[in-house]
Symmetry: C2
Subunit: 342 residues, 2 copies
Amino acid sequence: MSERTEVSSLGEFGLIDHLTKNVEIHNASSILGVGDDAAVIDHFGKQTVITNDLLIEGVHFDLMYTPLKHLGYKTVAVNISDICAMNATPTQIILGIGFSNRFSVEALDEFYEGVYTACDTYKVDLIGGDTSSSQKGFIISCTAIGEVAPDKFVTRKGAQKSELLCVTGDLGAAYLGLLLLEREKKIYLENPQIQPDLENEKYTVGRILKPEARVDLIDFFAQNNVTPTSMIDVSDGLSSEILHLCKQSNVGCVLYEEKIPIGEETRAAAFKFNLDPTACALSGGEDYELLFTLKQDDYDKIKDNTDISVIGYLTDEEAGANIITKGGNKYAITAQGWNAFK
Amino acid sequence: MSERTEVSSLGEFGLIDHLTKNVEIHNASSILGVGDDAAVIDHFGKQTVITNDLLIEGVHFDLMYTPLKHLGYKTVAVNISDICAMNATPTQIILGIGFSNRFSVEALDEFYEGVYTACDTYKVDLIGGDTSSSQKGFIISCTAIGEVAPDKFVTRKGAQKSELLCVTGDLGAAYLGLLLLEREKKIYLENPQIQPDLENEKYTVGRILKPEARVDLIDFFAQNNVTPTSMIDVSDGLSSEILHLCKQSNVGCVLYEEKIPIGEETRAAAFKFNLDPTACALSGGEDYELLFTLKQDDYDKIKDNTDISVIGYLTDEEAGANIITKGGNKYAITAQGWNAFK
C-alpha cells in the first residue's frame, strides 16, 4: 500500500462518513440507514430474522494470510448464512468494528470494499454501524437481518423419523484450505525468502478465505415449493451440525459415508496431509453449506438439483446418530467440531 | 468470589445453555429466541428499529472499578437509549461477548445478572447471542431492537427554526463520576491500603456505572401526544449532540447556559475538581438523557414535566449554534466530546 492515512486525522464521525459515503440501498424494507441513533426497517407484514456474530483477530481469523477485503466479504457471508439456515431472505446488515492504531484508513477501506462487494452479491443493505478503537487487534461485530413469511421460518427442531437428511454443495474443503494456509505461514515464518505455493489449491483456499452463503438454495426452495422440516448451516463440521439437529428434533439418524459430498481437490489435499477426507468433512467446519431434513414425498422436487446430496435418513431417537462406513461398519457420530474455548 | 469454574469445563454450547437457562420472554413479538441459527421477531405491522454497539475493555470501560453486574446492566441500558432516541419502544436485545481465560463462569454469571436485571427493568427479551474467546480482555457486542408505528420514528433531521430545544433529566454527573473513579483508582494503585472514599458521591458515581435509558420519557410522549421534531441521546456531551441535530436538520440554535439542568451533587463534585459545571455538562458525555426539539405549540404539553428542561431555541442555519452565558456573552458551541481515536 502506497499511502497511509491515520484514522485519527478523520475522527470518529469523519471515518463513519468516509466508510459509508458510497453505501447503496437495494431493499425497500430499508427505511432509514446509516447516520442516526438507530436504523429502521419495515418488512411489510413479514417476520424479521436476526443474528449476530462476533469475530475476533487471533481467534476467528489470522490477518497474516487473510486479505482484509476477503475478511470483509466473509464477515457478511457467514452472517447471511445464518439467515439462510432459517429459510429466510437476507435484507440488511449492521456492522461494528474495533481496531488498534496499526490499521490505517486505507486498510479499513479494503475491509469495507469486501463488505460492499458482499452486499452487492447478496443484495443486502448496510444500514448501521459503529467504529471504535481497540487495545489489540481487529474486532468485528456483524448483525444480519432477513425476512420470512409469517411462521414459515425453519428451525433445528422440526425433523421427524423416516425423513431424508440432505446437504448442499461439498464439504471439508475449507478445513484443508486452512491447513494449507497455516502450513505456508509456518514456512514463511521460518524462511521469508520462500514464496507460498498455493497455485493448485485455489478451490480449498478459496473456500476458507471467501465462503459463500447458499442464498441460491433458499431461492430454489421457494421456486420449487420445498420446505425443509429442519435446517442448520455447516459452520462447525457435519458431525456437530447433525448432532444439533438430532438433539433438538429428538430423532436419531443414519448417515452414509459414501454419500457425503467431497470434491476432487479436497480429496487430493487431504491425501497430501495424510488425512481421511471423510474426517475432514465430518469435523472440519467453515463450509457454510446447508444441512437440512426433508419429507420423503418432497424427494422428487430436489432429485435433479446436483447441488443437493441425500446423505442419510432419520430414525427413532433411541437408535442414536450413526454413520455407516464405506466398509459397512456402523459407528456413533461424535462431535469433534471446533470448540472456541479449548 | 469463592468458586471458580473454568469456561472450558462447559464448552461453547454448554456455556450458552448455562447463561440463558433462565431467560424470560416479556414480548409477544419475540417469536423465536436463543438456541437456533437466528432469532425471529414479528412486530405485527409496526416498523423495526435496530442499533448495535461494540464495547471494548480498556476503551469503553475499566473493570478495575466497574462491577461486572453494573457493566451488564449498562450494556443493555445504553443500547436501549439509542432505541428511545428514535421515539421507539425497546423490545429485544441480542448479545455477543468475547472474553479471555481470566474470566470464570461465575464472572460471566455476574455480567448476565446485570443483563437480566436490565431486561426486567426495560421489559426487553434476550433473544440471541454469541460467545467467544478473545486474546485480550472483555468485548461486548449488543444489538438492541425496538418497534414504532409506521413512519412515526424521530430522526436527527426534522428540527426547524423557532422550535424549542429541550433536554431530559440533568447533565454532567456521569463525567464527574468517572473523574472520581479514576482518582480513586490512581490513589489505590499508589497505595492499596487506602479505601476508596465515595460515600458522598453516590449520585455521580451511579450515573456513570449504572445509567438508565429514558424509556419513561418515550411513554410520556405517547401518553401526552407529543412528537419531538428531532431527537438524539446524550452520549458524547451536550455540545456534540446539539451540533449533530443542527447539522443534520440544517438549523442553528441559541442555548442558554442558565437553563442547562445540572444537579447539586454534580455542581459540588465539579467544584472539588476546580471544573466549571457547565463545561462538564457540555463536554462530559455518557449522561444518556434525551435531547430533542419541539414545536412551540406543544410547549403546554410538556411544561409541567419537571424532568424536561427547555434550554434554548432553533434559529436559521446561518446564525450558527451559539451559547449565551450567564454573564450575557455569546459564544459559538464547539464539540469537545469524546473522540475514540485520540
